[in-house]
Symmetry: C2
């Protein structure tokens, strides 16, 4: 037996007991006549003591050889600690060691195993197994486990059945790029790894499973951006015989359960906002509503004056920055530079200080008098002391720009408190989205999303206006989940594929099994999927998902620890009926 | 809202309530003046009634159009049922329908949606979503969910953390064939899908995670046999600072918890048997101990007589078949034919009836007298009325043959009761296994398994004799789990790779990350993995795993429902820097 207790367990009530502990040497202090060693494991730290009065000389010498991260086993007596450490749960006691065994030695780790490490990102990824020893990463993984346990508990109690769907499925041209898996037994053919279990969960509804969920890995072969992984985890859910209302209530319940159980936060009913309102008020379909700074549309109050920039703009829109009237001219100029960065893309920014005395000072005083500017303040809900920032241009673009500015300012103002949780449903998403490059519409959510009742006829006349029973759950400015009511009859599904540019043959070849299934008694159904990596990061109060994934890949999709991907044996390729075809 | 209750919920206490139900038409009976419809969902069946006295004529007509598997919604009043059905939980009531809506029609299903279906295997696979509506499949999937929930509950309560390990990892030449995944961003390179998360779970132990588990899909590109799937699910577990004893106790606890919670069966301590004993007593490393029929070795009592077959055999071994003395000569001849089938491969079988009066009648009476045969009976523990079956030959082969005969006879005798559970640990597995074709030894479990202390020196002198701290959990003649104490130091691991024929460069290229990790303070560790598909099937009292997998593949690795694998677009291959290379 390697231990009687873990290193977080012992208290003063254990004094006098003989115990055996195992763990890693966190640090040691050698004062000559006395040596203290902090012994660490997942559960905590316990102080070991060796002293020349009570410890044999040979063991004193052995204790002196213990380096950082050595793995040791000790037996000894729990004794009262002379100088207590109130920051440590075990801080009232220490272990007077009578037996010491080195279970394994350790080379000096390439970075310090401390909460704040000196290791850079690359080094930490290469030695991820050492990074996991650090509290921030270790605790994130334990937190993730806690979240998934609570998800399963809640859904299982609500009659959901977790069903495993296959990982080796069929490649579809729709959506993002698939990872494919060559089949050896079916030469020249490929499986694909699922981007989501979408069609399978719908088939489970056709199969009468009624309420399904699965915490499941999904795969997308896309060019990676920061904080996006080629493999990611979804909480995938589907329900039969439900309306949108049923689904929103159920997953609001799940989210509320998680906030309560893992964060200790009680939240009331989640607000709901239509997609159109979200775009108008926040320029964004995943608004962070932990703070205000709602958009004020200014067309009516700014146009028909002599200011050509505004007169020629399709949309003039502003926000009030709390306390911003005190910004210096230099600070405001920096803000203007910020919105002109290519990542934001505004051509300029008009501003107006709302002075503490209620007067206004704008960058366009030549065109607008105090009375005009009072209307700006009214439209943007600006208070004395605020700064009104105004952008203008094409609606889609200017909204995105002002949204970026709003988020940046909120960040600077400390309004994005990770301990505050502000969930929000965005509903009534458009069914289709215009691809500005090709001029074609494609499915905003996916081709299985049902248009709202009675709106399907609009497809041929005003496709952009067709709304769907599609919804996203937004938490603190992040989309953490999304779903829809699905099409459940073959005719509508065929019409949708037709509209999206599939020939009937293509639709049949790719999704014939689903349309066939719809002919054998498909119930109305709908569902939702949460992005687990993002969800746990936000619940954990973090911005990035990487510490919540045990073995993440870097931005080139590489696992630098195991060095994958890697070349394979030519013999293996031959068995798969494949050859390399690398273009220079 | 589609329903106020599900179809398994209503009882006589609900009589008088107005309810709304949705579901599938299981069947309908039309007596002209009265129509009964059985409405089905996952939760049960509720009887609907339409009658010409109380139901409007138009609705009577509509009810007549309802076909099998139509999806309908009804509103009506819960009424007392005139002829109760005690076999149905809802059998005391029926619904007098006042509103009827057809939510979806259904073509006639290709097989009946009944517990006993007329659909063959192929048809059921193609229309798996209909097969899932049948109770045997539906209940198997729900049972699987229940098992996994209990696994997670038990392990989580025991401080295990579920950690997701990556699916896109590195291909290794060791073991079975990998499925590979070409990387688009790293031209000419491939990920592999994990055959198990073995190295990752060990790295989590190096990382201090202490107790890990994961219910995880694994992949093997092997030629498929019946009841083997290219993707399968493991309950994967690993623990640090543990001895074999700690691991056996913990997973015995898990198995006992499952038997209690999902089967309602209480089981005491699991017996343990060494690999050598299992092979000697049952000719098999996964013996079914629900019944006896232990092997009796007969060399000492049969040799040195005039029977050359036995005299020349390395091993002569027999079993006593309960009640077998009553078999006719013809039945015994059939048994002899059975053991001579190529799948079993015996050259013949000697037998001896133990008559009710205690006398013996053998097929080799010419060579053995009553006193000799009494010794056979003693060695095989045969009672009056039994039949002793004796095989002889090379030990490995003859044991396998007699084991096959033992299982076959137990099956015929009804001794393999799926409601009886007989777990068993097999311990002290050999570290290495001789490949009879190549004459080389390879790792019996995997190359990370630790030899027993002090035995590593035997590697160079008597490799077949080296035992490992490796163990299997056997349930009712099936290996449901297996594991080992791992190597946790670089030197031993390097030695093992060397012994297994890796050059130092190959070992470093494939497993360098693991051996590096061992240098930074690796704790002693070990673990175990359960095959979930098999485990749930056995707990569910079934022989085959297929009904416990929602969407299984056929024996050619095809999903016949979605028709995968399938060819992919040439453009897609080009992006992956690949070309087809099909050999005729």
């Amino acid at each position: 037996m390697y231990r009687t207790h873990n290193n977080g367990a012992l208290r003063s009530s254990d004094i006098g007991t003989e115990v055996t502990l195992s763990g890693w040497v966190q640090k040691s202090r050698d004062k000559g006549f006395m040596i203290w060693v902090d012994l660490r494991d997942r559960y905590g730290i316990t102080q070991l003591i060796f002293d020349e009065e009570r410890t044999p000389e040979a063991m004193m010498e052995q204790a002196r050889t213990l380096g950082r991260e050595f793995v040791v086993q000790v037996t000894g007596k729990v004794i009262d600690r002379s100088s207590k450490n109130p920051n440590l749960p075990t801080g009232d006691i220490e272990i007077l060691v009578s037996e010491l065994t080195v279970l394994n030695t350790a080379k000096t780790p390439p970075f310090t195993i401390e909460d704040e490490t000196d290791g850079g990102e690359d080094l930490r990824m290469k030695y991820r197994y050492l990074d996991i020893r650090r509290n921030p990463v270790k605790n994130s993984l334990i937190f993730r486990h806690k979240v998934t346990m609570e998800v399963r508990k809640y859904l299982s109690n609500a009659d959901f059945i977790e069903v495993e769907t296959p990982y080796l499925i069929k490649s579809t041209p729709e959506g993002a790029r698939d990872f494919v898996v060559p089949s050896r037994m079916n030469a020249g053919q490929f499986y694909a790894l699922p981007q989501s279990p979408q069609t399978f969960k719908q088939l489970l509804m056709v199969g009468g499973m009624d309420k399904y969920f699965q915490i499941v890995k999904c795969f997308r072969d896309e060019d990676l951006r920061a904080d996006r992984q080629p493999e990611f985890t979804q909480i995938d859910c589907e329900m039969a015989f439900v309306t949108q209302e049923d689904i929103l209530n159920r997953f609001e319940g799940l989210t509320r359960h998680l906030l309560k159980e893992v964060n200790g936060v009680e939240i009331g009913d989640f607000p709901r906002m239509t997609y159109d309102d979200a775009m108008r008020k926040y320029g964004n379909d995943k608004p962070d509503i932990r703070f205000g700074m709602e958009f004020g549309e200014l067309n009516e109050v700014v146009q028909h004056k002599d200011f050509g920039v505004f007169n020629n703009a399709e949309l003039v829109v502003g926000i009030a920055v709390p306390g911003g009237s005190s910004y210096t001219r230099k600070e405001i100029d920096k803000l203007i530079d910020w919105v002109k960065r290519p990542q934001v893309g505004a051509l300029g920014m008009v501003y107006c200080r709302v002075n503490q005395d209620g007067t206004f000072k704008s960058s366009v005083d030549k065109f607008y008098d105090q009375e005009d500017l009072a209307k700006w303040a009214e439209a943007t809900n600006a208070k004395p002391g605020d700064l009104i920032c105004v952008l203008s241009g094409v609606p889609n673009k200017v909204r995105a720009q002002l949204s970026a500015l709003r988020m940046e300012l909120a960040e600077r103002l400390g309004l994005r408190d990770p301990k505050v949780f502000a969930p929000l449903w965005i509903i009534d998403f458009p069914l289709l989205e215009l691809d500005e490059e090709t001029g074609h519409y494609h499915a905003m959510h996916h081709p299985f999303t049902s248009p709202k009742p009675g709106q399907i006829e609009l497809l041929s006349t005003d496709p952009g206006a067709v709304k769907a029973n599609a919804y996203d759950l937004v938490l603190n400015g992040n989309e953490i989940g999304g779903g829809s009511i699905r099409i459940h009859d073959k005719e509508t599904q065929a019409l949708m594929f037709d509209y999206l540019g599939f020939t009937p043959e293509e639709a049949q070849a790719q999704f014939g099994f689903l349309m066939d299934a719809f002919q054998y008694g498909a119930p109305p159904h709908g569902g939702l999927a949460f992005g687990l990596d993002r969800l746990v990061a936000i619940l954990g109060g973090q911005e990035t998902i990487r510490d919540f994934i045990a073995f993440p890949k870097n931005n080139s999709g590489r696992d630098v620890m195991i060095d994958a991907p890697a070349p394979v044996d030519p013999e293996q390729l031959k068995e798969l009926s494949l050859a390399l075809n690398i273009q220079e």
